[in-house]
Symmetry: C2
């Protein structure tokens, strides 16, 4: 996902989601980082108008929302809010999921949840 | 991901990626559809300025890019182009991956690839 400040965003995702850094290449405006949260992996890289990589914080919205499946959505959502995210929907039971939504400080919206009835804690 | 026309987008992803429909709820501006491509699943729903769900086709860019891991990136990329996508990077060997990029008719950019050296065809 494209962000206004990749270095700060990586620090946020580590603090908010307990993400681990899988790859880190380049510096500053060329910094590209791959992060993992459990089995999920995603990349963070700088927004660039020239490359049509739009900054959702600047736009006040994003063109997609990311579903992050975790064992404990309540804990991860609370941790993300403590790290600076804004809760847009509290974690609740909905359509067979335990799920809530946040917007992170870089403008990306996340749905954080797990299917109900799945007691694995891999 | 948010799209200008969810019904058309679903038809496109089925034709382009061989996606299957897992869930389909609502109609028209309320249509929400979950699609699967192999082990990957994603949702398509209408863009809405009021809900800050931005339309990447209208913006001429997106706030993220999606990596789609498939067994045969060359075939899937070619199928997507035949279905109406625009190739932005031809499929090639790069950083240990066989990978290319397309922008779909709804403004979302996809990276389509697989790790090299992985010969599974599950």
């Amino acid at each position: 996902m494209w962000v206004g400040n990749a270095r700060e965003a990586v620090d946020f995702y580590v603090a908010a989601f307990g993400a681990t850094v899988l790859h880190r290449v380049g510096e500053g405006d060329d910094l590209v980082v791959q992060l993992a949260v459990g089995e999920a992996a995603f990349w963070v890289a700088p927004a660039s108008a020239a490359l049509k990589r739009l900054d959702p914080r600047a736009l006040g919205g994003a063109t997609s929302r990311t579903l992050l499946v975790v064992d404990d959505p309540d804990a991860v959502s609370a941790q993300a809010v403590r790290a600076g995210a804004t809760e847009t929907a509290p974690v609740a039971d909905e359509h067979g999921w335990r799920v809530g939504r946040i917007v992170d400080p870089f403008g990306h919206e996340w749905e954080i949840g797990r299917p109900l009835g799945d007691c694995s804690s891999g």
